[in-house]
Symmetry: C2
């Protein structure tokens, strides 16, 4: 079926939001942890995290205008810090609930039943139940053409079980029960197919056998 621009623009607002949010495919599910200048914790689910570079290690994410994550953005600007905590199969319902519009004085950790964990010198809480946790320093915030904000963070600390990290550096996120989102509200686990070798023009594609399995 072909939807042209007139058909998309004619959709009721919620239907269009579901439809367009589905088109970008599977999205990583993360909880962003922040605190305000007084140390009050905030937690929000985000599905817009993307890789921006490995050296220096940079991650980008998008904040929509007037969304609940605005508390997170204000906190990041106040402290310069935030955490990203990968959502897994045991906590995706609590993670989703963190998107409710709780009043500012309420910690979403307590409201949804997740555990804040802190480290010295990092002015943002981690999610204890997450299996892959990043601490980031805010680098830049830029307003884009549709009034969304692009946030760029530099990774300072990574907490991950050593058993999930292959000798070549790849992290087996499926072994951490990592969750992906499609559209606004559909949660999925990953079902691994295979790793593929670095592609070269003069040879056929082939399966990568990680060093530790050779």
């Amino acid at each position: 079926m072909q939807f042209d621009r007139n058909a998309i623009d004619a959709m009721p607002q919620r239907q269009r939001a579901h439809f367009i949010n589905s088109l970008s495919g599977y999205k990583s599910a993360n909880l962003i942890g922040t605190q305000d200048a007084e140390g009050h914790h905030n937690l929000a689910i985000v599905s817009s995290v993307f890789h921006l570079g490995a050296n220096p290690p940079l991650i980008g994410l998008i904040f929509r205008p007037h969304s609940v994550e605005r508390h997170s953005l204000e906190n990041m600007l106040a402290t310069g810090h935030f955490t990203l905590n990968q959502v897994n199969g045991d906590i995706y319902r609590q993670a989703h609930q963190s998107s409710a519009r709780y009043p500012r004085q309420i910690s979403e950790f307590a409201a949804v039943g997740l555990t804040p964990e802190t480290l010295p010198d990092i002015k943002a809480p981690f999610v204890g139940e997450s299996h892959l946790k990043l601490a980031l320093q805010l680098v830049e915030v830029q307003t884009l053409c549709n009034d969304t904000e692009l946030v760029i963070g530099e990774i300072q600390t990574v907490i991950v079980p050593a058993t999930a990290v292959a000798a070549d550096g790849h992290v087996a996120i499926e072994s951490l029960d990592a969750v992906a989102v499609s559209g606004l509200d559909h949660y999925h686990l990953g079902h691994p197919l295979e790793r593929l070798e670095y592609a070269k023009p003069d040879r056929a594609v082939r399966s990568l056998v990680p060093p530790e399995q050779q």
Copy 2:
């Protein structure tokens, strides 16, 4: 295990690339179709597509400096058009192979065995084998702090089987066999958990039953 910044910076380059690319979680796998001013087709896999807004329908993607996708970027700038074609379980190996550094005069469609399809007025080829295809108009290209390019495109046309689109607009991408990538080279199918209702502070999280199943 805790990796601090010194440990990350001390990793060999390829190891760090695998490690950092894994941290952002599941990424949508898409093939970007473009053509040059003479109509020669180009195809490249991208894993950096993200939702930017539903009204107008905007998608963002990141091009790394000096990567093979630069041909795509040059073509988009020349024509103002590109397509995004969701990778599925039947074509992920061909899609991966499109990342090889083929010379400019070679069409990756022919090299990897995928079928270009065109529509009148759209100056970019679709991938025939994809089940979710978007035609986009280039809106903006911005160089970010680490010399990556942020490309913003506006969705003009969506081609998707009607059976995959729910009454509320949500697209069941798992029914299209959509593929996600983790790290640089690991491909996955989605294993659906559940859809969840819009979260509200005063009620517990609950499963969403789509209108057509009520």
